[in-house]
């Protein structure tokens, strides 16, 4: 090995352009529909995987996305990473349109992703060190420097390089592999890391270790996270703001404490109530909603939740409610019950301009 004592080179992060006030990521009207073949004579059907999703992520923030399977959270992540092409919508990274001001190659350096399946996301033929060093090499680092960087990052994620650098993915445990994936993502000095169910496959005690690690790395490298999970406890723990998705749409978003303490959308309330109890004396007595999430192929018209909503009224089936601000802290919900004067019997009365 070359001299280890030399300072560790890292790739230069994509420089900060707009300053702290400009969101690191701005997503406008992101949409992805998948056509599926219907029966022989029926019309073509569409999975509306992601439908007109807009949000922003401030620098240094952790934004969580929660929702059940089929709600479009992973598709959203893949669209942001440009792992699949979007049908429409804009993705703006620190003020730069991807594809114009910012090349895809540069974007991949500024934004990295950690996947749920720690084994499938590592090349089984590369040692751990080679896997981590691969990205920096592609971006022009010398072999020796990238290997030094890989070892440095292994140390940062709590794996001793002398024990792990030359092992293969199948030789280490799931928690260790997920640490390797985090190191691999960090090797390109990204400013935004998308964590797609990154701790979901881990055992509870390992999950806690990895969450602590993520918190430490965020501070050390000044990272911004987009944290996707179905586990509401984990999302509450790690996120500053949260998006709740249902069948491809954002139904509620806001600061995590506001959304948890005063959920405005009945789906958010049901999700929260569906969490198993933590007190043996107060078990859940009635299920918050019945039925399974509907098939995202040709979702219901109007508010997509109206088929399972205990408060649904005729207007809910007619038109989709828009995300509406509930306060000045950024808490928004897409429900007629939260929109003043919407016509829903439970909606608040229309107030003056102060609302």
């Amino acid at each position: 090995m070359n001299d280890i004592s030399a300072p560790v080179d890292m790739l230069e992060p994509i420089e900060d352009r707009g300053g702290a006030a400009q969101p690191l990521l701005q997503v406008n009207g992101l949409t992805k529909h998948f056509p599926v073949r219907g029966d022989l004579f029926s019309r073509r059907k569409t999975v509306r995987a992601v439908d007109d999703v807009s949000f922003s992520i401030a620098k240094g923030e952790t934004v969580g996305i929660v929702g059940e399977s089929g709600c479009g959270k992973s598709t959203t992540a893949r669209l942001l990473m440009h792992l699949m092409t979007r049908d429409s919508g804009e993705i703006i990274y620190d003020g730069m349109q991807v594809g114009r001001a910012l090349s895809l190659r540069e974007l991949r350096r500024g934004m990295q992703m950690v996947f749920q399946d720690s084994y499938a996301s590592l090349n089984p033929r590369l040692t751990i060190e080679e896997s981590i060093a691969f990205g920096p090499k592609v971006h022009g680092m010398t072999d020796a420097a990238s290997r030094v960087l890989a070892r440095e990052l292994l140390g940062k994620v709590g794996l001793r390089p002398e024990n792990f650098a030359n092992r293969y993915p199948h030789e280490i445990s799931g928690g260790q592999r997920q640490r390797v994936n985090i190191a691999r993502a960090l090797a390109l000095s990204p400013r935004l890391v998308i964590l797609d169910e990154a701790v979901s496959a881990l055992d509870k005690s390992v999950e806690a270790q990895v969450l602590n690690l993520l918190v430490d790395l965020k501070r050390e490298f000044g990272l911004t996270y987009l944290f996707i999970s179905h586990d509401l406890n984990v999302v509450r723990y790690i996120s500053d703001r949260v998006l709740v998705m249902y069948l491809g749409e954002v139904v509620e978003l806001g600061p995590v404490d506001r959304v948890w303490d005063a959920p405005a959308h009945p789906y958010t309330r049901a999700l929260l109530a569906a969490m198993p109890s933590s007190d043996p004396d107060h078990r859940t007595e009635t299920p918050p909603i019945s039925g399974d999430p509907p098939n995202p192929i040709d979702p219901p018209a109007g508010c997509r939740f109206h088929t399972r909503c205990p408060f649904a009224e005729p207007l809910c089936a007619n038109a989709t409610p828009k995300l509406t601000a509930l306060d000045r802290l950024g808490h928004q919900a897409a429900c007629y019950m939260a929109i003043p004067g919407s016509g829903h019997s439970r909606a608040p009365a229309k107030q003056g301009d102060t609302a």
């Binding site: 999700l271 198993p276 043996p280 909603i289």
Partner: protein, 327 residues
């Protein structure tokens, strides 16, 4: 209370290229109408234990010793014919992935009817009537139509309900549940848990429920056995285990759940990783990760201490507690 299941000194080894000591000196009992949770992380031996109760482990590669008695019968001594009568009628099982457990080429109705005909000798018409009744019991909407449905035509939650209907169709005394809600969405999971709780009461069944999720255990179990490295490290009533665990692993596992943790606050973790199971334990398996470990923990097996009428912990801390209480 009579015990339906009594397991004593159960050891399970998998042989082959390498030997795995999957279950080591396991003892527990299941009372009538009781829901026992086996709580542990992956590789702790909980599913293997469950499969041993139904003798579902591959015969060639498995060595089982110890005793497993169900309703007074020695399960390890049953021959093939006795086993096939035993499975489904006395003891039945539901799995994590109903899509894999159900037969994809038969309708739900046909699968339930087959079981009823096989075990109770009913004719096809009666068996189909039972199938319909079972689908209604598990609250599958438009049950009549669903009899004709194939597993792939149903959603995950419905499939899990169908599997429960199949498992309960011959009114077994004991239901074994292997993480039946883990693959389900949160809003569906709670529905299935409440359904199981209700059916357990209605049918007067005893249940052994394997889970890694403490929240799920809290919703359904009466008693809990916490497993680590193929051993039960602590067992007792749900409340005891949740509120005042004695074994450091049980404590660590409960503390490391993110439940209610606030942002900025560090999560408690258990350092290190579980041991490889290639040797039978000769000392406390948890000692290398334990903050309270002493020389004795590394030298010999920990004592299995009865702490209360219905509470056992495998730890020197438990021993000390008993001594302190006695003086």
């Amino acid at each position: 209370m009579t015990n339906l299941v009594e397991v004593n000194g159960l050891n399970i080894r998998f042989t082959g290229e390498r030997t795995v000591h999957a279950v080591n000196d396991l003892s527990f009992a299941l009372g009538e109408g009781e829901v026992l949770g086996l709580l542990g992380e992956s590789g702790s031996g909980k599913s293997v234990t469950l499969r041993a109760l139904m003798r579902l482990l591959p015969r060639k590669r498995t060595q089982i010793s110890g005793s497993v008695r169900v309703l007074g019968r020695d399960v390890l001594a049953l021959d093939e014919e006795e086993l096939s009568a035993f499975r489904g009628q006395t003891v039945s099982m539901i799995f994590q992935e109903p899509a894999l457990a159900l037969d994809p080429v038969y309708t739900i109705g046909a699968q339930i009817a087959e079981t009823v005909m096989r075990h109770e000798g009913k004719n096809h018409t009666d068996a189909m009537a039972r199938a319909l009744e079972m689908l209604e019991v598990v609250r599958i909407p438009s049950a009549k139509r669903r009899l004709e449905a194939y597993p792939h035509e149903m959603s995950g939650g419905m499939r899990q309900r169908a599997m429960i209907a199949l498992a309960l169709s011959c009114k077994p005394k004991i239901l074994l549940a292997d993480e039946p809600t883990t693959a389900l969405d949160a809003t569906v999971q709670i529905q299935i848990l409440l359904l199981l709780r209700e059916l357990q009461r209605e049918f007067g069944m005893s249940v052994i429920f394997v889970t890694h999720d403490i929240g799920v255990a809290i919703e359904i179990c009466d008693r809990v056995a916490v497993m680590y490295a193929g051993e039960i490290v602590e067992q007792g009533t749900l409340k005891h285990i949740v509120r005042s665990p004695i074994h450091p692993y049980a404590k660590g596992l409960l503390a490391s759940t993110v439940h209610g943790a606030r942002r900025g606050q560090r999560l408690e973790t258990i350092p290190g990783t579980p041991p490889s199971l290639d040797r039978a334990p000769v000392s406390c398996s948890f000692a290398p990760r334990c903050a309270f470990a002493e020389a004795r923990c590394i030298e010999q097996l920990p004592p299995n201490v009865r702490v209360g009428p219905d509470r056992i912990a495998r730890c020197i801390l438990a021993e000390r507690r008993v001594i302190a209480a006695a003086t």
